[in-house]
Each structure stands twice: as structure tokens, then as C-alpha cells.
Symmetry: C2
Subunit: 144 residues, 2 copies
DNA sequence: AGTCTTATTGCAAACGATTTGCAATTGCAT
DNA sequence: ATGCAATTGCAAATCGTTTGCAATAAGACT
């Protein structure tokens, strides 16, 4: 359902061009995000960053996430209950299926659903700026 | 897109049956929710309740919302940014279009989208417990 | 490399939304 | 009426996140 090469855009270049300084904390966080298969929250990113550089603070993680979000480098997801979780914005757009038992996040995409969303919004006189589609479910138990 | 008689189920009866006490604060909050066209947050409910009974506390509003949510009497929505907003669970299921400029919430429903969701989950080996579909948009400016 | 300017940092304190401990109150079965 | 557990209000605690501020460090310019 979801595929796509996990492109690795050069955010350092982009930041430099925008006059944003490349600091050690930012480099570390950027690296963590780039090599991320999952959807970590701020605390998890903070811990992974701490493992690399003890001095990085949680505030800086939050500030950096906000910065990157503003740049469009990452997406912020507010799944039910928990803290915000982040993912690199490189791949194509997708929605999420959250495993209620494990917290795992599975990505999927349906062009058809998006078309229907647009259609609905249009009929209501709206233009969609963005949307959020999250499925919360449990793994189907397979016989055996 | 959305219609349907706003049924007014007798939650007092249901609560009594479940051994849950009908207290004054609960009755007030229940009434507020029943006569609600919008999607108020806890503070708004608290204020409307205070107007009827000064002594009702915000904690009780929160506790009652949790109770009612557990009973399935209301739905809790965590739209972007703001606090949780609530609505009576009486009507049929629907999703939400949030007006980014006004915060207004428009309800809609698409059977087709739900079917597609089920299909996607099934293909991924999951059973959907519930889902969240929110469209964030702006009113289309009409020529004129 | 040395110096300057200013963005960025870490820390601790503030924040908003929500939850909780506890003693006082109240619903409701008796 | 009586009694006891459920519920309340209050204040304090909690969680995730943001912010003020003085110290630090990035990058531009010698």
C-alpha cells in the first residue's frame, strides 16, 4: 500500500540557505530523524539525542521540532492520548493506522479516499488545507 | 450530507441501571450536552454549567465527561491544537470538517470512505476499532 | 586564528489541559 | 430518618510543551 524510496533531502543546505544556523544539537536531531523508521515523540528523540550528546536538552528538541515542522522537514502527528509524534517529511503523503495494542504505526495511502474528501469539502463550500485520517485497530487474529 | 433526528436518549435511566448516581452536577451537564448544537470543550461546558449552578466545579465537568465517554454517551474529539471538545453520541456516526478561520465544526459522513477504510485495514490484517477523519479547511471565497 | 554579532542553547520556571488526593457532602437503599 | 459508599469541590499534582533569561557558540568579517 505504501512504498517509495525514503529520500534523504539535504536539510542542512536548505537551512543554511534560509539563514538558519546548523548547530550541534540540530545536526544530531536531524541525523536521528533521518535514520528513523518509526514515529518517535519528543522524549524519545531527546533520549536518542542524549545518547549521542549528553548536553542536548529537551527544550532544544522541542524547539528544533518546531523549527523543522515550520520548514516542512517533518510532520507532527497528535495521535490519541499520547504526546505528539514526529516523522521526516521526505516520503509521499500518507495516513496512519495505529495498532491499539502495541502503538505501532502503519502507513497507508488511498488516492480514492483523498478524492472523496476533496469532493465532500467542495460540496460544503470548503477548500481542504490538510486532513487527518487515522485508523485505530487491532491485528486480526488469524485462525490456528 | 448529514441529517437525522437528534435523538435524545435517556441517559439518566441508563445511568441508574448501571448503578451510577444521578447527582445535580451530572444532571446539569447532561442537560447542557443534550441542548447542544456545537462541540464545546470542558471549559465551555463548565461555564454553561456554572451559569445554572455556581457550585459546579471544573473537575466535576472533567470527571463527568470521562464518565459519559465511558458510557458511550458522548464522543471526545481532540482537534488540532485546542482542548478536547465533546458532543453527544446520539446521532449517527460522522466525521468533521473544521473551519480553520472560525473553529466551526461541520459534520459529514461518507459511507464510501468508511468502506475504503475497512478495506485498507483488512488488507493490512487489522480490524478497525474506531477512526478519526478530520478535514481542516477554509471557506471557498465565492466570486462577487 | 581572533573578534564580533546575534542566533541558539540549557536551565528552571511558567504554561494550559487534565487528573488526582482528600476531607466534606450527597444520593439513595434501607 | 439513617448510614455508607459514591461523588463533590478544592487545591495541589501531573503531563506535554513553551518560554524568559543569562551563558554559549555559529558564522561573517577581519
Amino acid at each position: 500500500m505504501n512504498q517509495g524510496t525514503p529520500k534523504k533531502p539535504d536539510y542542512e543546505r536548505e537551512m543554511r540557505r534560509a539563514g538558519i544556523r546548523i548547530t550541534r544539537p540540530r545536526r544530531v536531531i536531524l541525523d536521528i530523524l533521518a535514520g528513523c523508521e518509526d514515529h518517535p515523540d519528543a522524549m524519545e528523540i531527546f533520549q536518542r539525542a542524549s545518547a549521542i550528546d549528553k548536553s542536548i536538552s529537551l527544550s532544544t528538541v522541542y524547539r528544533t521540532m518546531k523549527l523543522l515542522e515550520g520548514m516542512g522537514a517533518i510532520h507532527r502527528h497528535a495521535f490519541e492520548g499520547g504526546p505528539a509524534r514526529f516523522e521526516q517529511a521526505s516520503g509521499e503523503h500518507h495516513d496512519h493506522l495505529i495498532d491499539l495494542d502495541t502503538g505501532d504505526v502503519i502507513e497507508f495511502h488511498s488516492r480514492r479516499i483523498e478524492e472523496l474528501q476533496d469532493e465532500i469539502a467542495r460540496e460544503l463550500g470548503y477548500e481542504i488545507v490538510h486532513h487527518r485520517l487515522e485508523l485505530y485497530g487491532r491485528r486480526k487474529k488469524r485462525r490456528g
